[in-house]
Assembly symmetry: D2
Homo-oligomer: 349 residues x 4
């Protein structure tokens, strides 16, 4: 199958390199309004045609799919045009700039039977694939809490705040590992802009999950120490993913609080009495060394071939978008909990 | 000066040991309703009289001060009686069970010219004393954010939730290091009780501080990994306190985001352009090895001798209490921001 | 059974506290030439008789055993007298000041049917007990190498060099975990005294083990960073013990180099071709929180009751001593490998 | 200036990429007996001529210098031919396969007035450059000890043992940071081959330095945990370089042992009495993010332009080689200390 990469800025070169190296794909073209930039990317992967014209790409019947790495506000028009031209699409996070746009994109792909995939790259890292597998196999039991921290000295973005810049990573991962995706009763967001940049540079997002669990995300552009850590507490075990510890990224702790089953129906005093602690072993699964984008390109190809949704489909992109949009609404109203509309995009109409 | 320790449970033995070892104090008595328990503590520090009668202690003119380590709900009656008997008082955190009670205690101490001290022990650790000193000296510049994490597998308390159990530590430290103490516009709290224990076992507390800064506290009884870390971001430098790293507890990073001063008045696009990054050295001050409680007993004595407020006075205990009470109110209303009444206890009347 | 602690200096108080708390023992007396020091220790554990006379202790028929924590050069006369008086003995490391003295002590205990135990305290930590258990169960396969590092800013001892001060810990642990104890072909030691203190402050000890394995110990009084780490490489798995990481002291790596069995007989080129790497999971066993000395006192009692050698018997103390003495000889001759005489003390005659 | 890269195996592509990106150099050709491999490297850096003929390169007057990344045993003939053809040379570590060959190379370069540089890449990392600068400025005082550990699960090399594979890194760094380079009284090496591969897979190298200091290197192919750490103890401060901690690679500890100056002349007992400890601050200098090879290519150009020796000149390569050769001799004789002939190559004749 032939794929064209649209957008030769920060992320495009990585897409080009991985599609080029993939056994599933021929990299057919690189498209950017800045033709010189497109040419630089093409040179680095070795002799791929370039163009400044998206129309040319869309008109080319030999091209089966396009991979989009342009600014978020351009996702909707480009994706809609690509779908109209019968192309399968994978698109950089976030899926779109608004839930309304994202919903249109998901619906259009569904109607045309085309694959619309959210390029939630982190979901294709060996660590996150392993976490999803462990959760799905019930190794952690029921999820009790997810706490995600993603902080470092980051570039203050001109057009988006720290939530829209960083939280899509955390939210797409949470969506990926929770069976059925994010199913939130609401979202509350609090931010701070202590430097007066005009947007939040520090953000906290809290999301009660159905069943009494809670997810919390801390994103921060102003921290001199870099932390990328997610703790996933379950009734059976707790998992810690420390992405900056290459020697032991994923640790599974057979430790936790046990609540004797019978006590659940009794008074709270009795409950306290029946709580006990497990202090079991720790286990760190070996992880293969595979580049996440390589896994992503394979999944994109497989979804098209098998005529199925990809594991990070448009609906997942839409759930992430819904949380972000609700978070912005919460932020605008001082942190009040805001409902998350339609965590399943196809139900939203 | 003579001091009596009231309460021989978890914390009382530590008080007894430190008052016994102090050059400032004679440990005159240990008081507990459970006389056997009191005797055990007395034996360990060597031959101190014990009693089950608080009245006896209060009637003894030779006793100048009492140190209270009883459950929070008993603080108010004991402290009020002690003040009425003319004793100086230091009392375990939290100051009282309600702001109303705490306010009465602070007022009574003021009227009688007695020292009422909150035993915010963490504030007397070498690390926190150093942080306070650095902040006061302007080494960090203006505070931009404070992020505090205090999580581990903890005992689920029978009578209090995770906020009232753990957050007093974080809040008393924040109050101690901020010049003038906590000055919050409001507080928002979100909790989860995924095991159905009847109270929050996971808690997030967000507190916008005056001047655009933000403080955030994460407390958690259900985490198998223990983290005790506070990040304090300033306009000049950022400080990280990792209490579980004995080799480098306090690190000061000369790194951060610079915002050219003139840009503050211009449009946000211009602002972005004038942001730059500093990547300077890291510095970890040497800290003396002194037990915090030893520093606390010295400060208690000094405050009495010098007829001044202690560095963790009743007003600071009351500010912590106000935040906790507001957090509970926020929690009860789904996380909405709740005002923090009177961050200076003496202004509350 | 009744035990007397002889020596109330640095280590004696720990012995006193643990024998006092033991269900197996009555702490019958504390003996020190400095009676005041003995009294201080007695006070702390609550009302134990003290004496400055060793003869008095040895003449007391009610006393079954003595625990010795006096300087190494005094071990021989005290232990010989105690054995002659029919007492079981546990003695602080190193067993004696010379192999000759140690050999006499071991022989005397054997002849009299008394327990002579080396108080190799580290061997009774939960971590080392677990390591011994894993090695014995074959979990690591054959041992390939043991690398031990014990460095920090340490007190420069007036009478011994860094080898005699610190390496007994490493050597006693190595002896404990190797089935059958240390069986070394020789030992080579290199030291440095860059400050001119008159003795080695930095030491490296290399010990080829029978079967082609190697053990290496690095001890250092001059390092500002504290490291206490032992790596034990085996044909099946490798174990890392990091004693300063309370959250994960012992890690077992299912990683290593595989050498296809058939290739062992072929030429070295062929061998290289059949080497492969395993990159399996990591596993960290939960360890109980028990004080090592508490385990030591139990083992001492059990050995006496069951009329058997203790797990750190005189012979093990003698093997450690032999290595130390050979290391000193190697050091004196510029690091040349020196034979380690009689790794089994009873065979030395 | 024009440079040709000779050798397109593991290291050649890195050389090609950095010379290509350098402002000082034109990458004129890539030479490898395997022309296809040369072509692959040429493609990746964009259109550089390739050849399988070294003679062709040497005959080309437009080429000023060559950079050699071929197996060690080929260094001598290639370098001698290149020097004879009037080319400046930089050559991958180790400089040559024998001290005799290396000495010839150094002498030939001197006679012809050409630059012969050892590509000790690690010396050009920001961390090592900073360490050299700090040592040269006297920040550490006199060097007391250097302890270097370089262990991980490594490929067992077909032709060299672990000393010749890994220790050139440690030795070249030690040579670089010691003012005047390595000046060793001897070297002792101990190795183990517990898997029967026919060569040492674990190695310990000890090197007493003039003035009473000591250097020690631990290299190991069989360790599942990766450690790359160097501790450099000085009379004033101690430096720890942890190359696997990107957040704090270099730490300078103002801690150590003080020996009162007057005591040096007195008896050793008196000395002990005057030893004291400093427990000062820790300081971690910010390091620029520059690729080491980029610094190396600049230094190569500067040395040629300024007609001076490079900072890692042939003599330094020869000192490293001398230590390696002596280590092999020591290893062959059971670890006995072996003299290190001529630590200054030019003095060897």
């Amino acid at each position: 199958m032939n794929v064209a990469v649209v957008g030769a800025g920060y992320w495009g070169p990585n897409l080009a390199r991985n599609f080029r190296a993939s056994a599933d794909w021929e990299l057919a073209a690189i498209c950017d309004l800045d033709l010189e930039r497109a040419q630089q990317v093409a040179d680095r992967v070795g002799g791929v045609p370039v163009t400044a014209s998206l129309d040319e790409i869309l008109a080319d019947d030999a091209i089966d799919a396009i991979a989009i790495a342009t600014p978020a506000r351009t996702h909707h028009p480009i994706v809609m045009a690509a779908l109209a031209a019968g192309k399968h699409v994978t698109v950089e996070k976030p899926l779109a700039d608004t839930v309304e746009h994202g919903t249109e994109m998901v619906r259009s792909a569904q109607e045309r039977g085309l694959v619309l995939m959210a390029d939630h790259t982190y979901c294709y890292t060996p660590a996150v694939l392993k976490i999803r597998e462990l959760v799905a196999a019930g190794e952690l039991g029921d999820i009790l809490f997810i706490d995600s921290v993603r902080i470092n000295l980051g570039l203050i973005q001109p057009d988006v705040d720290v939530f829209w810049d960083l939280a899509p990573h955390d939210l797409s991962i949470i969506d990926f590992i929770l069976p059925g995706g994010i199913s939130a009763d609401g979202v509350s967001a609090q931010g701070a802009d202590p430097l007066g940049t005009g947007k939040s540079c520090i953000g906290y997002l809290t999301m009660p999950l159905r069943g009494g669990a809670i997810a919390h995300v801390h994103v921060n552009w102003l921290s001199p120490t870099k932390i990328r850590q997610m703790v996933i507490g379950g009734t059976k075990r707790t998992l810690v993913w420390d992405d900056l510890n290459p020697q032991q990224r994923v640790s599974v702790y057979d430790r936790g609080v046990d609540l004797a089953e019978q006590s659940r129906a009794t008074a709270s005093d009795a409950r306290a009495a029946t709580i006990s602690y497990r202090l079991g072993d720790t286990w760190a699964p070996a992880l293969p060394e595979v580049e996440a984008l390589s896994n992503m390109t394979s999944e994109f190809a497989a979804a098209i071939r098998e005529k199925r949704q990809s594991r990070t489909d448009g609906a997942s992109g839409l759930r992430v978008l819904s949380v972000l949009e609700s978070a912005s609404a919460s932020l605008a109203t001082g942190g009040a909990t805001h409902p998350v509309l339609g965590t399943n995009g196809t139900d939203r109409s």
